[in-house]
Amino acid sequence: MSENNKENILSVSDLSICFKTRNGSNKAVDDVNFEVARGETLAIVGESGSGKSVTCYSLLGLIPQPPGVIESGTAQFKTGAEKRDLLSSNKATLRSLLGDKIAVIFQDPMTCLNPYLTIGEQLIEPLCQHKNKTRAQARKRAIELLKEVGIDDAETRFGSYPHEFSGGMRQRVMIAMALITEPELLIADEPTTALDVTIQAQILDLLDDLKKQRNIALIFISHDLSVVANIADRVAVMRAGQIVETGETLQIFKQPQHPYTQQLLASVPSGPKPTQAFQPGPEAQPLLKVEHLKTVFEQGKSGFFTPRPAPTIAVNDVSFELRHHEILGLVGESGSGKSTLGRSVIQLIKPTSGSVQLDGQELTQLSPKQLKPLRQRMQMIFQDPYASLNPRMTVFDALAEPLLYHRIATRKNVTAQVLALMDDVGLAQADIRKYPHEFSGGQRQRIAIGRAIATKPELIIADEPVSALDVTIQAQILDLILRLVEQHNLSMLFISHDLSVVRYIADRVLVMHKGKLIESGDTETLWANPTETYTQALFAAVPQRINEK
């Protein structure tokens, strides 16, 4: 991109935003400067709380005021010959720009579409509102656009409701909706975070094509560095409200200047497992043996007049073994049944048929009471550390519960054991009386991990334990898991949709697709030579790091 044909459509300077709360003010955005030109993609990267979304939303008048206060700054938005400061514009002007010249794509397409209106109705609304088009004209335009974003059979889909689309298709609809008024600036806030990796690749390609064809400016907000590497022309790295580094994508990824950028890049899991790969011992008996496991969910209820809908087979005839002291990765896209498999193994969901043996003991036939002593030996770590901790229990309560319940500790020595556990997972002992909401996501996940290892289990099922975490925190938690597995001789079934994470942590990998286990093998062997077509497609869809390109 040569400098002279660069026409900055938006230039933000000296932007500072403060959130005033009862406990004083909190500077969310601190003296931020950036600009974006036509036909250019600027990625704003940062971890949660770095102020990347607040920055962009403030331009659109979408931050609540109060508590938000824009302390200083200008945002010159240039459209045609006109030039406007977005920050000092009144609400009416902003509203006419928004949805006309500026459009936004949000992270979760489901919550941004009105479930009670057909997507067609929602698509033509801005056209009728901003462009004074008739319904027939608007409809024609909407259908063209739906085709352009890759929705087959657009005429019929025009009358469909949001829930009738899959996640990826819904995001395409959102993109069509953003583009329908021919905006000149598109702001995409984590548009692919909620999507599967293969769908993510398609959406990224689509966004890139549209940007080139229409010569629009794209601001791409993301926490995911590998995604950014693929789509951005320039990158701005944000941390604690400040832009610490800006530059061409290649330069940022190849020669990061700021220590934080370096740390961020180093945190992205890449390459094989750092520790010694697991060598199967001589013992013949696997710790966990799953044979022909099948879990079926009944769909809805049978009514008086309607038959019960066909059941969903979430896990279909799955067999595998987990050896002692092994980390077994389980990958697959959403809806592939990997979480259901994990829950069926640990008997949180009763499998429909098949067998699960822990150390030779059959689990599927046991009553909850018979299972209780075995629960001590197998534990689970959940994905969302915000949902997996009881908000009304302190750290002490949460960690003491399994200890006391399984009579591992007595009332007298439980405090000492809880403190030891907190040490083990890297929590400060002083925080013992705090409630979950007082901790960050990473610390909460440490609490959840502490609870899981409290009973000294042999088997841990970790269901996406790092997916909800920021990349630097993710790296810390992964290392914590590796250390604990080593120290406590754990065996683990590690479920994740993130292939690079699995490669980093697992000794062996299982690939699941539509309820079936389609491939398995030693991690590095599988990475080098995936045999199944689906596995190959899955691996190909992973955004490559720039230095691997």
Binding site: R22, P368, R375, M380, A387, S388, P391, H406, H437
Partner: protein
């Protein structure tokens, strides 16, 4: 057998986790409540009212049925601070005696409704499936029963009795509570922390008690503070029907309904009992809001 087994499992241990350092949720809640001035004021007003109600026979100068037909209805004066009613009875005395009935009905009937409703709703919500369907259909049936017919049936069977008052009110008020709690529990049951509790190996009773009920407290407390005034007014309706208390005894509800009749000539007969009820409601609302915030660790801003 199931239950003894459960008791053996849970009783010695489950309470011990909080017992180690005192029940932390409640203790922390008390600390937070102490910072909320309005809630403390509400609590203070309620305590004062309860003490006054208990001590009424010893602190009142007049008897509640002591008539002074010569005086008749008189406005507030030095002898009768809040005036007298048409029969010349001291209004302050009657309000104080009335508070004994109203507060007792308000608190006891609500407590009954709370106890039954929360346990019933939690069990239905947690068990789900057929148990839930059966339990909730039973609630629907009771809902569908017209209240008047229910009351008349009770009167026919048991005759007039003050205890029936609590029974009748409790029997209707717990239904809504059960529905609210069941809805809450159904959504809580989907949360991962309940799954985590199952994977630890906790029994159903321990999960209900330690993980589900504490998390339903917010809406429950708010609904409770709404139920108490409801119940107090319901009592006056029942008394009007002949169930419950009879003149010359009084309650706030009865005093208010008499006050309405003579509102134009003797407004103080409506104003003062109404004021007593309003103050109670305000106090309860502040206390309820304070309790809800205090019991939710996330609401704490310290």
């Amino acid at each position: 057998m199931e239950s003894t087994e459960l008791n053996n499992n849970t009783n010695p241990q489950a309470p011990s986790a909080p017992a180690e350092k005192g029940s932390s949720l409640w203790r922390d809640a008390w600390h937070r409540l102490q910072k909320n001035k309005m809630a403390l004021l509400g609590l203070g007003v309620m305590i004062t009212m309860c003490i006054a109600a208990i001590l009424t026979p010893w602190i009142t100068v007049y008897g509640y049925e002591e008539q002074n037909l010569v005086l008749g209805a008189s406005p507030p004066s030095a002898e009768h601070w809040l005036g007298t009613d048409t029969l010349g009875r001291d209004l302050l005395t009657r309000i104080l005696y009335g508070s004994r009935i109203s507060l007792a009905v308000g608190f006891i009937a609500t407590a009954v409704a709370l106890l039954i409703g929360v346990i019933y709703g939690t069990v239905a919500g947690y068990m789900g499936g057929r148990v839930d369907a059966a339990m909730m259909r039973f609630v629907d049936i009771l809902y569908a029963l017209p209240f008047m017919i229910f009351i008349i049936l009770l009167m026919v069977i048991f005759g007039r009795n003050i205890l029936l008052l609590f029974l009748a009110i409790g029997a209707v008020e717990w239904l809504t509570m059960a529905r609210i709690v069941r809805g809450q529990v159904q959504s809580l049951r989907q949360q991962e922390f309940v799954e985590a509790a199952v994977s630890i190996g906790l029994g159903p009773w321990a999960i209900i008690r330690r993980h589900l009920i504490p998390n339903t407290l917010g809406p429950v407390i708010v609904y409770t503070t709404l139920t108490i005034p409801n119940v107090m007014l319901l009592e006056s309706f029942l008394s009007f029907l002949g169930l419950g208390i009879q003149p010359p005894q009084s309650s706030w509800g009865l005093l208010i309904s008499y006050g309405v009749e003579t509102m134009e000539e003797y407004p103080w007969l409506l104003i003062f009992p109404g004021l007593a009820l309003s103050i109670t409601l305000f106090a309860l609302n502040f206390l309820g809001d304070g309790l809800r915030d205090a019991l939710d660790p996330r609401a704490a801003k310290d």
